[in-house]
Amino acid sequence: MDLFFEALLNGASLGMAYALVAIGLTIIWGVMEVVNFAHGDYLMVAMYIGFFSFSLFGIHPLFSIPLNILIMAGLGALTYLRIIKRVLKSNVLLSQIVVTFGVSVFLQNFAMFIWSPNFQAIAEVPWVSGSINLGGIYISKALFVLALVSAITCLILVYFINRTTTGKTILATAMDREMAQLVGINTKTVELITFSLGIAALGVAGSGLIMVTYVSPRVGFLYGLIAFTAVALGGFGSLAGTIIAGLMIGITEVFSGLYIGPEYKYVAIFVVYLIILIWRPKKGLLGW
């Protein structure tokens, strides 16, 4: 039974990180109706930033978070202004999908070019190595800290979007763009803020994930796919749905890895995705 709860806790912790990655994707979709297929690759860049700030400058991943947020927000703003904004103007659906693929291919191979395709990881992260005992259930400290950081960031994001004025303009734009423009919201600025925010959230996730796992140029594909699955599962544009779906995916991954076999853990995630979408094809769990 301990094993069961251990798996549950591990899965939920991992799922919290997935939720954080997916939440950026879902707000970008909500406002711009663009699926950022390069999302996982931005996460990969963030993980490299976390990795190198530790290995080159000795900055602990937890302290590299602010720096990471800044860099990623800048990268997001740059991408929006140079690429997304222009491609949204053209109104051609396919090119809107494909352009983020181009970005994805570019980032992935850029990373391969300058950082080599090798797997890199921080062997032992100070302070958070080892595991902690929660009443007979063990969880690695790093994973626990990751879950904590992700959960706090998710809460901040949800609070920001639902309670602050800027957040409310984001919500308004997502719900009805033309009405938002009528009441005086500058939707272009909202789009810029949303895109930067969505990518900046990856800064937190990148610094957090590098504590528990490795990074390589290819890693973005898997995280991206998990994030898309979480977003689609939760229903495009739904924050709560995305968080629930992220947790579900994390738990599914750990349980299927434990009871079916580690090689099939991602297969199980997609089977769950398909089952839920056959049940609710146009909405996902909580979509609107």
Binding site: V35, V92, L94, Q96, V103, V271, L274
Partner: protein, 338 residues
């Protein structure tokens, strides 16, 4: 008016065909021929993709799964039963259709991004299963035995690539003809109706699910067939190379780059993008990993910004371009009028 333009088209097609037939006898270098084989292959694959992606607007990343199933089917039939790849090729296509129907049925209600992500998941699942299935070679992949005698039975040509060249060209031509026929037939009309207004066409009594499945089946068949030929060409297949996401992405990029929803767009995309990829791989490969694909990514981004409807629009007739600009914003188009 129509008659003249149609005659003109046949003239151009005739010239193109003759050039392609003469090409391998002039350019005898193996790289020049390899280049064209890859162009044919990707042209056929992108065209097959375009039937789902461009005409039915189902953004599929699942093409690599069909490709891989085709490659594995013909290779297994050849290695275990000694069946000639001629039969294997069709068996591969049919297995791909079976897979397409198995996957297409439960996902037939999904639209837009939900479908795209389901198809991404399909690739991932298939690659995992094939990597862990030891009967078909698992992660090690399959190496086809090299046979020197009777090349047309074994479909292996080791002296020159001309055999592969014409086979691939044949499959591409077949794909073009079938795509042309399908998009001009009632199937094509139903698919475009579904693309433009899915709910309206459904309410008018169109059986969207049936036509979606037909489109997926046709697309899967040719993709699987090309997969079988590819296995014969490279003589080694493993899950990442024939089922990996890279292949699917390349196919999608080529089709959209050229101009999806049109007959010649994907072909044009392959003609431009494939040599670019292959040449940059050869020229820039020495500078370090990834540089060549970096350029491809950059090219795609630039194209999406400057010419979002695809390269083909640059060549479209001014009148057509004018009318297209008036009637539709999406990539709908010169279907049927090549």
């Amino acid at each position: 008016m129509l008659e003249i333009s149609r005659k003109k088209h046949f003239l151009w097609i005739g010239i193109a065909l003759t050039t392609l037939i003469i090409y391998p006898f002039i350019f005898r270098g193996s790289f020049a021929q390899h280049l064209m084989i890859m162009v044919f292959m990707y042209a056929a694959l992108s065209l097959a993709w375009d039937l789902i992606g461009g005409h039915a607007n189902l953004f599929s990343f699942g093409q690599a799964a069909f490709f891989g199933v085709g490659a594995y089917t013909s290779t297994m039939l050849y290695m275990r039963l000694g069946l000639t790849p001629w039969i294997g090729m069709f068996a591969g296509g049919i297995m791909a259709v079976v897979l397409g129907l198995i996957v297409g049925f439960p996902t037939s209600k999904l639209r837009g991004h939900y479908f795209a992500i389901a198809s991404l998941a399909l690739i991932f699942v298939m690659e995992t299963f094939f990597t862990n299935w030891s009967f078909i070679g698992g992660a090690q992949g399959l190496s086809l035995p090299v046979v020197n005698e009777n090349p047309w039975f074994h479909l292996q040509f080791h002296k020159s690539k001309i055999g592969y060249y014409f086979l691939m060209m044949g499959v591409m031509t077949l794909t073009i003809v079938i795509t042309w026929l399908v998009t001009r037939s009632w199937i094509g009309f139903y698919l475009r109706a579904f693309r433009e207004a899915p709910d309206v066409s459904e309410s008018l009594g169109a059986n969207n699910m049936l036509y979606r499945l037909i489109a997926i089946a046709i697309s899967a068949f040719f993709t699987g067939m090309v997969g079988s030929l590819y296995a014969q060409y490279v003589l080694y297949i493993d899950p990442p190379s024939v089922m990996g996401i890279d292949l699917s992405i390349r196919v999608v990029l080529i089709a959209v780059f050229g101009g999806s929803g049109t007959l010649w767009g994907p072909v044009l995309g392959a003609v431009i993008l494939v040599p670019f990829m292959e040449l940059s791989r050869v020229w820039l490969g020495g500078f370090g990993q990834g540089l060549d694909h970096m350029l491809v990514g950059l090219l795609v981004v630039i194209l999406c910004l400057l010419q979002p409807d695809g390269i083909i629009k640059l060549f479209a007739h001014p009148v057509e371009r004018f009318m297209l600009g008036k009637t539709t914003k999406k990539g709908a188009v010169v279907d049927g009028s090549p």
